[in-house]
Symmetry: C2
Subunit: 555 residues, 2 copies
């Protein structure tokens, strides 16, 4: 008797974290990559623009990589493609809107020419990638055209839920394909990767339709302009806003580049139905009566450069917020953005707007399955092994409780760390190894050139500022020709601290004299002495410790 064939599942991102989703599925000589997302830096990653998965493992095995298959078009699933594709030139597969958004993104990075983009249709011919065959299965999410994937391998079928909810009254009428998911369950599924984002939330996530109903009530009462801020990719939300606007005889203008682009792509590909004449240019709204205007805008997360944030600080070129405006924040703050969103709401109130936000009205619903929907997914697919993804540890812990409630054995739920290799077969499933993996920071054009040492320095500079001490020595290192000169940034306000800095200079001069007398010539010792003396001095006088950078110049 030979062992049952096994398939390897390697999350390279998106587990024990929310963001930068990427998972490698490996069977024999074939590797298929599910998604290639970015994560947005948390506040400790000072100056970092984006975080992408470390793909060294894939590069080492690039001759085996058959393609990248995408579940949907959100940044945390497609945003790393501009960094991955130049190094790993493989075909990319996704549904029409997903590929449309990818194409747009690659155009911005001037990578569209060489990319091999393939549009797939859920429920139709699957993609054959070596011995692995990938099938797209329609689900609901906060962006149209989201899918689960069935990855067929000779070892068995792996289902990846994608980011999903089960919306029984979806805006586009396209329901989650429960029939296909159940059929796969009947045939037997080896493992299910399941979206755990909302594993803490009891019950069912509300239908997107609910938001449209709230919009209707808001429009009914609004006497002036209505502004709606939401995620640029939430096309169904935008559809509902446009529909309600048309119903109330209002014209819609869009503020914010990303939303304009997404609307254009979605309309072109047939995912957004805009009645003729419903959209007007932002420049034109000034000529319309206030009660005939709806503005759709970015900035629902309080992002400093986004349209609504600028309007809230009176810094938008075309739109000034004024008394009579109704502003709807149709989103929930992503963890970490609470203060930014709060400040935007405050600023809008201050300008006299009526602001309607989560907690005051149901102007947002989640795109992710709550506990009962997760149970439904698991019960349809009935996998041998269950792998939660898209969650921090606490969401995965909540997911474990769901599995427990369903009577699933603890050993059949696998919670990998990033880079863990899960091997599953009809006989067993376990974490059997670990591959090179992790986070790569993008700062400007630099990919991976900022690491923890640079970040530690930035944090220290941020907290304490910097103080540069320059001295000039003669080549024989016998005496100091000039200095010490002291220059600071971010430490004290120099104009009001002349006495402090003058006194520090005297301290430093005394050290230099001592160094001359003791004939110390070792640079590292000289630098250390300057740092110690001034560090202790500033600590005693100011209670602060600036970064002291001694610079010695030899002449």
């Amino acid at each position: 008797m030979t062992a049952a064939p096994t398939v390897s599942l390697i999350p390279l991102g998106g587990t024990r974290e929310i963001g930068k989703n990427m998972t490698a599925v490996e069977y024999g000589d074939d590797i298929v990559i599910i998604d290639a997302g970015v994560a947005f830096p948390d506040e400790e990653l000072l100056g970092i623009d984006l975080v992408v998965p470390d793909i060294d493992y894939l590069l080492e095995n690039q001759e085996r990589v058959r393609g990248i298959v995408l579940t949907h078009g959100h940044e945390d699933h497609i945003g790393a493609l501009p960094y991955v594709l130049p190094r790993l030139s493989v075909p990319v597969y996704g549904t029409k809107l997903t590929i449309g958004l990818v194409r747009k993104k690659l155009e911005e990075h001037r990578l569209n020419k060489q990319a091999k983009l393939n549009v797939v249709v859920p429920g139709e011919a699957p993609a054959k990638l070596g011995q692995i065959t990938v099938e797209w299965i329609r689900t609901n999410h906060s962006i149209p055209d989201g899918c689960a994937l069935a990855i067929h391998t000779p070892a068995g079928v792996i289902v990846h839920s994608g980011d999903f909810k089960i919306d029984l009254t979806p805006v586009d009428g396209r329901q989650t394909d429960m029939s296909r998911l159940s059929a796969l369950g009947d045939q037997g599924v080896l493992a299910l990767f399941c979206d755990a984002t909302n594993a803490e939330r009891p019950g069912y996530t509300s239908s997107e339709k609910v938001v449209g109903e709230t919009f209707d009530r808001i429009f009914e009462k609004a006497e002036g302009r209505v502004l709606i801020a939401t995620f640029a990719s939430n096309i169904h939300r935008i559809q509902q806003a446009i529909d309600v606007a048309v119903r109330y005889g209002r014209k819609v203008a869009i503020a914010g580049r990303s939303m304009r682009e997404n609307v254009a792509v979605s309309e072109e590909l047939g995912y957004l139905r805009v009645p003729k004449g419903a959209l007007v240019e932002l420049e034109e709204v000034g000529h319309l009566p206030d009660n005939k205007v709806v503005l759709l805008t970015t900035g629902s997360q309080g992002e400093p450069m986004a349209a609504l944030t600028r309007m809230a600080t009176n810094d938008h070129r075309q739109v000034q917020i004024r008394r009579g405006d109704t502003v709807v924040i149709s989103a929930t703050p992503i963890p970490g953005n609470e203060s930014l969103v709060g400040r935007t709401i405050d600023n809008l109130f201050r300008l006299g707007a009526e602001v309607i936000y989560k907690g005051v009205a149901q102007v947002h619903v989640s795109g992710h399955a709550s506990r009962e929907e997760i149970k439904l997914m698991i019960n349809m697919v009935r996998p041998r092994y269950l792998v939660p993804f898209h969650g921090e540890y606490r969401h995965l812990a909540a997911f474990l409780k769901i599995a427990e409630e369903l009577g699933i054995k603890r050993e059949n739920v696998l919670i990998p760390d990033i880079g863990d290799r899960i091997e599953v077969s009809r006989e067993k499933g376990a974490i059997t190894g670990h591959v090179q993996s992790g986070s790569v920071f993008i700062d400007g054009l630099g990919i991976g050139d900022v690491g923890h040492i640079v970040l530690r320095d930035r944090l220290s500079l941020a907290t304490n500022g910097v103080l540069v001490v320059v001295v000039v020595m003669d080549k024989q290192r016998e005496k100091f020709l000039s200095g010490p000169d002291i220059i600071t940034r971010g430490f004290v306000y120099v104009r009001e601290s002349e006495a402090l800095l003058e006194s520090a200079k005297k301290q430093a001069s005394a050290v230099l004299k001592e160094i001359e007398e003791k004939k110390i010539t070792e640079w590292s010792v000289i630098k250390l002495k300057i740092q110690e003396t001034l560090g202790a001095y500033f600590d005693a006088v100011t209670g602060r410790r600036p970064n002291i950078l001694p610079i010695i110049i030899e002449i």
Copy 2:
């Protein structure tokens, strides 16, 4: 007919913001200050430890200031005293626990000797401060001994709600003195300062007792140690934890200096009843079986140095979290702390603990009145003018809606900015002026020596790092004797960026050569040329713009 006498109300903090509460009440030659609180810096105030109100106005009028009256002992109401009292030596009045906490705080700053601290008893003899008489009226809040104040002036009575909720089943049995508040209402109140923190929340805030019931259910199930993290000042919460521990035969140990101190002060003053033998030292818990142990700990906000945060990162000297532990986060994240708290929860799960937090169980209730309680307060006091405080603009906007629901005229609700002078009399109430006011930043020992320029520099250093360019010129400024030398911090990882920095050095050398040839001797021009050239170079090559600090040394 002479005009009715007026009283001035000047918020110096705590309006259009949450934090650093301080309000001056001025009648004739007398000024009384209500509270003196700190605010905690938001993430943009890099390196700042605390924010206190600007008290220049009070200092200018110090001969008229009769005293500081305190509503309760929270940091945002008493925390600025160590900065205020050395400059403004006036008596301080408050209830027993409040003054006990103030005394402790002043001891830490070695200011207790000179301080004139007075304990008052709610419902008993009021404090006479010049022509102003202040009366303390018991309310409920998340710290014992919280009070509203009735400020009696010849112009009329001002009521200040303090931070309050109306708890009908308070842990200490002491109810809000609704009888006295209503009697004041009957006699006529000129203005009510009302806590607006929870003006967005419908209904009533739950009683503190509810948390005790949740604790009971948690203890019933817990098989190992139970850890409860909460605010160090929430003595009623701590009381309930101790009571439940005793009921289940567990001993209680306390981790975290601030909680140990608050427990000691509260027990000594009779605000916390600890059964004999219920408390043990942290060192002793190792000798007890796990199911006999409760740890009360600080760190419910994920503060980096607090006990629970350290335990969660395996960095606490005495307590290691392990499988079987139940950790209760009995608090809600203060806005801005969500990520820190989320990370702590994650880390605890990762170490194998069962973590119970808000959203999973009712382990926290607010200390502030919800909408219906705010209505109750207003209806009891029935003031001529209403002034919401303790809220950002959106809370104040929600408060306006409450007033509207109660049929209060819009012009009778005054929403001042910090420093606005409100004048009220029996005939009218309006904002009539503005005094010097604002925020003062405390960084280490420095009070006010870090301002917006330094913060702007810190933000820029945090994002981009710093690059120092040193050149040495002869005294005639005809030629460069040495350099350019380049030193960086927080920009790129130097060891892996030698080529980049070498090439930057060449760019700088070329500029210096050009400067020599053109006989440019003006320092500012030389510096600018270096900054421009290197700035453009790094932007093109790295997409980043480090802070370039050119330093010219003359020899």
